[in-house]
Each structure stands twice: as C-alpha cells, then as structure tokens.
Symmetry: C2
Subunit: 206 residues, 2 copies
DNA sequence: GAACCAATCTTTACGGTGTTAAGATAAGTT
DNA sequence: AACTTATCTTAACACCGTAAAGATTGGTTC
C-alpha cells in the first residue's frame, strides 16, 4: 500500500483535477472579484484562474449566480466576524453598538467589491440560496441585538424602527464610501473615527 | 416646396431613422432598465427596442457606459425634483429636511433599477461624464443646504458630519428597500411614513 | 439643377461570455 | 476485473460589446 495515492493530498495532481475544486473556485473567484470588480468577473475567468476548463465549474455550481452566492455567503461571514471583532470588549451597550457599526463600515472599506456583490441586485429575491439568507440574517441579528440592548424598556415597534435606522445609517455610509461619494480617509483608523462620528448622530449609541 | 420633407416632423420615417435617435435610445434604455434590471440591459437590446441596427447607438454614444451615464443623469434630475416636490411648502427647516429625505427614499422605491444604476460601480470613478457629476452634485447639495438650515450656528465641521450622517441614513434606507432587505410597505404612503420614522431618529430633523 | 460633404445608419466580423450536450478519464464499489 | 459514478474536457449555441467598411440621407456650394 502506497501512501500518496489515496485522495489524502488534495493538491494539484497533474491530469484531471480532483482536489476540492469547489473550494478553489470560491477562493479564485474572491481573488478575481477584488481585482476586476463584479462586472469584470466572468465564470470562464474563474475557471481559468483555477486552471480548469470552462465547463468544469458546472459540476460544482448550478450557475454563475450560485458561485457568486457562495462567495457572498463567505462575505457575510467575514462581515459578522469583523463586527464581532470591533465590538468585543466594549463596556457599555452604546460602545458595543458603536463597535458593531464601525466593524460594518470597516469591512465594506476593506472589501469594496465583495460588499457590493453581497448587496447587489442578484440576490434581491433570494428564495434560492437559503444558506446565503441565513448567514446574511446572522449579520443583521447582531445589529438588532445591539440596538435592543441599548433600549432596555423600549417597545417592540420602537426597537424595530431604531434598528432599521441604525442599519440604514451604517449601510448607507458603507455604500457611499465604497462608491467614492464620501471620502472618509484612506486608513482603517480614519474609517473608524469617521464611523464613530457618524453613529454618534443616532440617539441609540449616544 | 413640399411641407413634410424638411426634418420638421422627427417621427419615424420609413427608411433610415433620422429623428432624434439619441433621445429615443435614452428613453428606450430607461424602459428596458426597469423591465430587465441593470444586468439584463444590453446595448443591442436597446437598439432593438428603438428599431435600429445594433451599431447605430455608437453614432450617438461612445460607449455602452456613455448611454448608461446619460440615463443615470436623467435619474439624478428626477431624484432632485422628487426631493423638491416632497420638501416644498414645509414651514420649518426640520420639516423641509424630512421632506428631502422622504423624496429621496420615494424616488428609490419608485425607480429601483434606475436608482441602482445611478449608484452602481460604473460611475464610482467618474472623471468622464462631467455632466453626470454636476447633476449628481445638485442632488447632494439639496441635502447639504437642508442640513445647514437646520443648524444655523454650527461649525463647518459639524455641518459636514451631520450632512454625511443624514445622507448615509437616507441612502442606506433606500438601498435596503431596493434590495428587499427592509420591508417598508407597498404604497408610496407607506414609504413616506417609514421615511418620517427613520429620519426622526436623527437630531437634525427633530 | 448637379456635385460634393458630413452625418447617420447598416452589414459584417471578431473575440468574449454563460450555458448545454456529448465524450473522456479517474476514483470507488462489487 | 467489470461496472458505476463523479469529475473534467471539448465542441457548440446564442448572446454580448465593439470596430471596420460600405450604403443612404440631408445639407451646402456651385
């Protein structure tokens, strides 16, 4: 019994691919995404980048949209962890809330094309891609919980409105930064101070 | 001298087109845009809709992007007039501000694909298309003036931040509604009451 | 009027795209 | 070893953005 012949080592075997191409397509897609933008991203290009023929992706994703949905899902996971990172260790509910917003905006700043993909028209009606829906809902629920913690005695309706307002504020700022309509600086520190100034305008995190 | 042979009547002459095709391309583009979305909009499709060959648009627009820029410019004009409409007749600066925000969101609600095009990645770096830049700046300046009127004694810096926050809030709400992530109702009245609730969260229009 | 010019439109063509259908190869199972 | 199944390739289709070259038109000048 030889050692290396089982599929123990999923690296590039010469002939047919047979590693986990699915994963490699997603990472290649993310790579090309930040380089060329959503519009410049082609399925054939991803296949090329992965060193595989043009039709190969169709054995792992039903569609180009399905691959983009997988990339977007990874994006939402990254968004959530970025929010968690910046809100960790906050001593007040307001500071925690501010951290969530800062993380949201920082993520958009650092992954502009990915952020655009995540909120693009493609998934506006996302009855397919349920795992995308759940992971996106996770990100949203972090915000919701943060808002609720800031207003202990508020009614359900008040919390909903405050939550929608907070989400809109943070999402709009991210979008405007990504689209270069607001200049919030060039470093992550710049972005964070900008985020703090912005979110301070809401009574929630005051 | 015959009457109808001059280009007095720019309607469809049978053979070659010779009306103002440029205008017709823009309106045909807007029509297809709301039907098929930005991604589903093809230059060939626009030419087809205008009843003209596929290469004809290139005599009026340098590019597909140039046509989209013209459509987007019309969009910003519409956005400005919608904001003007909803803020007209307000008696206080705060009410005026609220009207501007409501108009912004209502426009997005009523022209989702156009709104997406206007803020798409295509014009993020818009050193070309200067008329697009100016008409977009007009919309922004309406917001800026509204914010400044709400805070007479504020410093330049304070006004800028309040302005960015207001813009972010309103823009984010529009984007989230267009992307179906926030359900703000189905009628324009629904949208307006939603907009009022949201903007009331900002100290500017309190 | 005729001759010319510039603008506008068409036909044709090229390379790129998403996607499907048919065949080749590898891995796993009996 | 034979068979099955998953994976990958090649080839093809219709569509797209765009450029080049030719046709048609309206306007201008004699």
């Amino acid at each position: 019994m030889r050692m290396a012949t089982k599929q123990k080592n999923p690296s590039k075997s010469a002939g047919y691919h047979h590693g986990d191409l699915k994963r490699e397509l997603v990472t290649a897609g993310r790579r090309l995404l930040e380089k060329s933008g959503v519009e410049g991203l082609s399925l054939r290009g991803v296949a090329r980048e992965a060193g595989v023929s043009q039709a190969a992706p169709y054995h792992h994703f039903e569609d180009k949209d399905a691959l983009l949905a997988a990339i977007a899902a990874e994006g939402f996971a990254g968004l959530s962890s970025e929010m968690a990172k910046w809100s960790a260790g906050a001593d007040t509910a307001g500071a925690h809330m501010g951290g969530l917003g800062a993380g949201y905006i920082v993520f958009a700043f650092e992954n502009p094309e990915l952020f655009r993909l995540m909120h693009g028209p493609r998934f506006a009606v996302a009855d397919r891609y349920d795992d995308l829906l759940t992971v996106a809902a996770d990100s949203f629920n972090m915000l919701r919980d943060g808002v609720a913690a800031c207003r202990p005695g508020a009614s359900e309706k008040e919390i909903e409105i405050a939550c929608q307002a907070a989400w809109s504020l943070v999402h709009g700022a991210s979008m405007l930064i990504v689209d270069r309509r607001i200049d919030a600086g060039t470093t992550v520190d710049d972005i964070v101070t900008f985020a703090n100034q912005i979110t301070k305008q809401l009574p929630v995190s005051g």
